[in-house]
């Protein structure tokens, strides 16, 4: 599949023959031309023949087990990232503030716990867990706080959008409940990381559909939701509503996170679109 890079992700390992933005334009155009043409364009744009360079993909599977393995893959990636942060030049430097190191210690623990929990959950359901994925963090600058935070923001925001977009595919409500318990913690992470990069950017317009309310003139008039939503996501596949996060579908997420996985660990989610 093509690399549909969402806003905020650095271009990574895009070959000269991979037109990153052209397919999106085509897609927009064809949607006006009608349903059949649009769907065809989507398929064509999504699967240009030289895109994959014959690299195989490990599919996460189908059904609830597929979503569990998909979550397991994302948590493996995050856990590996924060483990590397804790051995980075920035983290180990003498002057790094204790409060910042504490944040990274917490994040590393949370994500490792998520990873091990999901593996245990898969095993208990007699579903074969994905293998231990090999990561490729060569695009990340681990020597500076900004480099680490920028990558962390990508991982956390992607994680939230991924869990939000995956919920609808779960049929077991116990699993939906567990996903809910994890995703809000990912959202806490994302908000703090974003505030550490730019204060007050915890729900900025690149991840949340902002809303400008039209407020009543006085306190005796009820507010009934008047206002102007800004529903302009790039790469969103969810059901956009005002003041809400922009969920993403599994395959869209994996097209992004594959940039951080080694060639023998790249993933697909063909059952979920």
């Amino acid at each position: 599949m093509s690399n549909h890079l969402p806003t905020g992700l650095p271009p990574h390992k895009a070959g000269p023959d991979q037109p990153l933005y052209v397919p999106i334009k085509r897609r927009s155009f064809f949607m006006y031309a009608g349903a059949t043409a649009g769907a065809t364009a989507l398929v064509l744009a999504g699967c240009s023949k030289d895109d994959d360079n014959n690299v195989s993909r490990i599919d996460v599977g189908s059904g609830d087990g597929g979503i569990l393995n998909y979550a397991y893959a994302l948590e493996q990636l995050e856990a590996a990232f924060y483990a590397q942060v804790r051995t980075s030049a920035y983290y180990t430097a003498a002057g790094t503030p204790a409060a910042i190191k504490q944040v990274f210690d917490d994040l590393a623990l949370h994500e490792a716990i998520h990873r091990d929990f999901l593996k245990a959950a898969l095993t208990s359901k007699n579903i074969t867990p994905l293998k231990d994925l090999k990561t490729d963090f060569s695009s990340i600058d681990f020597s500076s706080l900004n480099g680490i935070l920028t990558a962390a923001r990508t991982f956390e925001d992607t994680g939230v959008a991924a869990y939000n977009g995956a919920g609808r595919y779960l049929s077991d409500n116990a699993l939906l409940g567990l996903a809910g318990k994890i995703v809000s913690v990912e959202a806490r992470h994302a908000a703090l990381i974003r505030d550490m990069i730019t204060y007050n950017s915890f729900v900025s317009s690149d991840v949340v559909n902002t809303f400008s309310p039209t407020l009543p003139a006085n306190a005796t008039t009820a507010y009934t939701g008047d206002g102007t939503p800004s529903l302009t996501p790039a790469g969103s596949n969810g059901n956009p509503v005002a003041g809400a996060e922009r969920s993403r579908k599994p395959q869209d997420v994996l097209n992004s996170v594959n940039n951080f996985l080694a060639s023998d660990s790249k993933l697909s989610a063909n059952s979920f679109g």
Binding site: L192, S236, A244
Partner: protein
């Protein structure tokens, strides 16, 4: 109003938008079939039916409707609180005004979204339907100074931010508790919308906690002030065990008014306290010595049942609000 630009924007925002309106995507035919000349004057009404067709549902399952109505009531609770605070001169430090404005606007957006799903018969609430003192209508509850600049316990808005933390944690736990009810074949889009609101509540909560750390460290505007154990006054951006009962209020009779926000719901087996360390029958502290109870509890937020949510929220409901049935649905 540029109708065509709006449709095009919506379509980019939601690739399935035209499918929602009409499976055959003959949106312009639909508009033409409305049987009326499209003029500037008729566009608003036309748009309303257009959006209703896309996102509204004629009849929601009653348990879905109740979950969404509770969510709407909680959004009004938060919206009026932040909106009121923004109008109180000297309450919110200038470094925090943008953040609180954004949060207020998000809550307004949630009201917009939920009313869009529930339809025009959805209830609406005035600021006077709430009692932000936490006194359940007395006006003299433990949080009475949360909207008073430099009131007791409220230097730099400390009590206001404490209340914001508690409200948004109730919100995230309530949405989490309601999500399974929304997971029906015909309400998957509603489920996804609710999940997308749920994570925004958690982002808000993280920010409130970040601000509270900064206030405790006298470092307003900084996101990197240290969290201080036992985390009731200078919390982490995530919930550590039960945060020692949550924020402390300047009240001798009820110094921990938010304790129920972090405790177990009912039944506790399904709605454990935030200090829970067992997930899907696995005690996660047993799988690795590094996984302390504190770390495991931080890594998972817990759902809350609607009755417990209502019990908490009724403390913030005025006599007028109670008369309207606010937070009194039967679950």
């Amino acid at each position: 109003m540029n109708l065509f630009k709006l449709i095009s924007d919506l379509e980019q925002a939601d690739p399935e938008f035209l499918d929602r309106v009409n499976p055959r995507r003959r949106v312009f035919k639909y508009l033409g079939n409305a049987g009326q000349k499209v003029t500037a004057a008729t566009i608003p009404g036309l748009l309303a039916s257009f959006f209703n067709k896309a996102y509204g549902q004629a009849t929601l399952p009653s348990d879905v409707q109740k979950v969404l109505t509770l969510a709407l009531q909680l959004e009004y609770l938060e919206f009026h609180f932040y909106n009121t605070a923004l109008g109180v001169s000297g309450l919110i430090p200038s470094s925090e005004t943008n953040g609180i404005t954004t949060i207020r606007n998000d809550e307004a957006g949630h009201i917009n979204a939920l009313r869009g799903v529930l339809g025009t018969s959805a209830p609406s609430y005035l600021v006077t339907d709430f009692d932000y003192s936490g006194g359940g209508g007395t006006g003299t509850g433990p949080m009475a100074t949360a909207l008073v600049p430099n009131g007791a316990g409220n230097a730099n808005g400390a009590l206001f931010f404490a209340a914001g933390q508690a409200f948004s944690d109730v919100g995230q736990r309530a949405y989490k508790g309601g999500a399974p009810t929304l997971n029906t074949a015909s309400t998957k889009d509603i489920l996804e919308a609710a999940l997308n609101i749920h994570s925004v509540e958690a982002r808000h909560n993280s920010h409130f906690r970040t601000v509270r750390r900064a206030i405790a460290a006298n470092a307003l505007g900084s996101a990197t002030a240290a969290a201080v154990s036992p985390y009731d006054n200078a919390p982490k951006s995530w919930i550590n065990l039960i945060d020692s009962g949550g924020p402390t209020a300047p009240s001798t009779s009820n110094p921990k008014p938010a304790a129920a926000v972090y405790n177990a719901g009912n039944p506790a087996a399904n709605y454990p306290a935030e200090s829970n360390t067992t997930q899907a029958t696995v005690d996660l502290t047993t799988i690795n010595p590094a996984y302390t109870a504190a770390a495991v509890s931080e890594a998972f937020d817990e759902p809350l049942d609607p009755n417990t949510v209502q019990t908490i929220a009724l403390n913030f409901t005025s006599v007028a609000g109670k008369a309207k049935g606010l937070f009194q649905q039967t679950f």
